[in-house]
């Protein structure tokens, strides 16, 4: 009788201990995201292609003792955000800084080329930021601010650092300009370039 009671007690204890666990919420991280410029939000759902007139704006966040630094950039690919909460991104983006100083143009051999590839559920945070399941090699494109109007979508990246020759680091952010497209329109194949000066550099 005592044996049975002890076994029952042990089994009950194991059961209670086991039942007390289970799934728990993941550690909550702050979802407040500070973007360099304020995204205005809107409805990001749609099928988006690069704006051929100005695909990407890159803006430096620090002052440098040069006349100006501009970025060559190019973007091609598609951004599709479905009404079902699923997105697919397949794009390539490239930056190359050009340094203007004392009438000379310094072309650096180093450039950043990144591939944005991802497909899965996206999430809208605080009405103006997107979490995208995008994998990229160099820069982070999984958290983006967005401003959407009827036929345009601007994606704003978080500040990133661009370092060359282990001496100079450039802090910058970029704005990807997209325009709404019908799905059946063929994707543009040409590389597009834009030059953007840091404001107030001259």
């Amino acid at each position: 009788m005592i044996k049975t009671s002890v076994i029952g007690l042990v089994l009950s204890s194991i059961l209670l201990a086991a039942c007390n666990k289970g799934l728990t919420p993941p550690d909550i991280q702050s979802t407040r995201i500070e973007f360099p410029i304020l995204p205005e939000g809107g409805n990001p759902v749609g099928f988006w292609l690069p704006d051929t007139t100005r695909p990407v704006d890159v803006t430096l966040l620090d002052e440098f003792p040069v006349d100006s630094i501009v970025f060559q950039s190019k973007l091609e690919g598609v951004f599709s955000l479905e009404v079902t909460g699923i997105c697919s991104v397949n794009a390539t983006i490239a930056f190359r800084p050009l340094i203007y100083n004392l009438g000379q143009v310094l072309e650096l051999d180093i450039a950043i080329t990144d591939t944005l590839l991802g497909m899965g559920p996206y999430e809208i945070i605080e009405d103006n930021a997107l979490y995208l399941p995008v994998e990229s090699n160099v820069l982070d494109f999984d958290t983006l601010g967005f401003t959407s109007q009827m036929n345009s979508l601007d994606l704003i990246t978080l500040p990133a650092v661009f370092t060359f020759e282990n001496t100079i680091s450039l802090r910058f952010y970029s704005v990807i300009h997209l325009i709404r497209q019908d799905r059946n329109v063929a994707r543009p194949a040409n590389f597009l370039f834009t030059l953007r000066k840091k404001e107030g550099a001259y």
Partner: protein
Amino acid sequence: MRYRISWIVCLILICSMALGQELPVKRTQKNPITGRVTVASTGEPVVGANVLILGTMLGAATDAEGKFIIPHITPNTYTVMVSAIGYKKEEKTVRVIPGEEINLRFSLQETVLLGDGIVVTASRYQQSINDIPVSLNLVPSQDLSERNITSVDQALRYVPGVNTLDGGQITIRGSSGFNWGVGSRVLVLLNGNPFMAGDLRNVNWYTIPTSKIKQIEVMKGSGSALYGSSAMGGVVNIITEEPEEGSHIHVSTFTGFYNRPTHSEWQWTDKRHHFEGTAVDLSTHIGSVSTLLSSNYQTTTGYRENDDHEIFNFMATLGYNYSPVIRFDLVAGYGRNKGGFFIYWKDLSHPYNNGSDPFGFRTRSTLKNTFVFPSVNYVINDRLYLSLKGRFNKATNDDRLQNKSEGNAEQQDTFRSSHVTTQGGELQVNYQINHQGIVVAGCDLQGDFVESIQFGHRHTSQSAYYVQYDQRIWGLLKTSIGARYDWEKAQGIGSTGELSRKFGLNLSLGAGTHLRLSLGEGFRVPAVGERFISTFTAGIRLYPNLALRPERSKSVEFGFRQTILRSMNLDVAVFYNEYKDLIEPQLDNDPDVAGVVVRFKNVIQARIQGFDISHRTDWWSQLVSTRIGYSYIDSKDLSPGDEYGSPLKYRSKHTLYVSNDLRLPSLSFGIDFRYLSKIQRVDEYHKVFIKDIDARVPTYVVAFRFGIIREHFSLRLLVENVFQYNYLISPANLAPPRTATLQLDVNY
């Protein structure tokens, strides 16, 4: 044309068997066997006891006074067996002499095991569960009423080797992973009639009222040699009650609530979540006519976002004994399920929020199901029995999008719908060759007509022919051999044919010991939905695949069953199953399409082996009952590629069910415990669109029951998930928190 040929074959089959039987029989005077069945301890009549003359097709059921009559018995020596749920089976040998009426008295002793009775699913005729060559578990009606089971799939949770997932998907011995119920590898029957929707081959559980179910038979292992497509993993046969003599009314009503989530972060609304329902059953059995009207209405707010439901169902059964040898039956019903559509969570931080609804919308769904199953059973003579069944089943499903901020679902257009009509019938002939041998043969015809936004307009037709021969040798060894040929033609696809075979042995060693061995083959024809689907749902584009082939399986099982002191039994089965060409949804690379593209494909070759053990004791007239069921499943994915040798997805290796009941004259207590080990793998493609699907834990669930029982009413309190354990009922789908239910039953 094919239908005509099938019917002609059937007619020839019947005529030849009937003629073959009539020729050697001499015209002799036939006498009835009459008798009365009472309870040994009290002398009260046993109503509804099953009386069978072994070795013949003849039998009867006892009336309100416990009396029975079996007319037209050819002079010979027979063994008459009487069985009833809750009583010990009894047999008597009688010699029928011309001109002499036989009157038998049976006094049944109580305390026979609840799960130890007469079953029909294993071989398509009534026999003792101890005599069958396959593993079969019985779920008695008591299990449903004591647990306030409102959907039949919930009742299967406590069957060893069986697991049910959210959405009503059943898996037996790991036959299925997780596919939201599409393409079930378990065939579900209602009184022997296939009860699968013609488009997705899933089960509309909401249609079947649970208050008047006599028993549920769960046959494990490949059963296509008797039942055809879908019976790869097993067969579940739901058998409704035969109304007792006189008129009766039964009203059952319940109300309950869901506890708030364990973690405050998961609280998604301030509203209280609750559920309630009422079932009313009217039954009459007067003379040769019996009727049962059963209806059920229940509502729930759900415990998740967009998870509310309103369910109504109605079922009518009519039985008419036209003569002692001809009986007509009709089972008809209607069910409607209106409500939300929760497939998976938003993420683990918001597990009660709907992740499957489109951005800014909620999906509202209306499902309706109407079925009619007429049948006629004719005992042509003491050796030949004929059963002709018809089936009509119409299922509709309409999904609409409702704007979360405004609008009404009724004003939105239907974006997904499916209307399926299934028509068919079956002819079965049982022929008793001698006292020890029986042949079961038949043919089955069915047509499915689908009109759907996502599947298109499709028509499939199936025909099947089966035969089985059971022979008892030396009174101890029972052999069973059978085969079935199924032919299917799908519009735009062509036709396929499948031959399934079976072999079984059951050896009685005396002293309640039985050994069994069975080999079976199974297959499943792809559902219309799997072949033709073209839709955009839950964030994925589902595209058709017309090249799908049928799935196939082979199963081997060795079992041991021991009954001890008539109050305890132990059943152990070791099984080995092979699966080929299993159909699974797969990610597909389509360069022309942006987004996630999925197609159903024949991709998985697999092997599942393991064992299950079930043990049951019912002491002192079921005063104390204990049930234990354990199942071990070792699954291996044998598909060529990186995943070779890894466990199959969404399978638990260990499952354990323990149930204890104490039933005093006016009080009852019960406690249930369920354990399922953590599923070993999840589908990679699900990770593309379901967040945190890899979050998995083992399942530990405890339920508690307390009841006050009186002659005409009972009041029960049920607490499910007592410890508020957070587990999954399907991937990315959190189980309900603790629920408390108050249930009142009134019987007159």
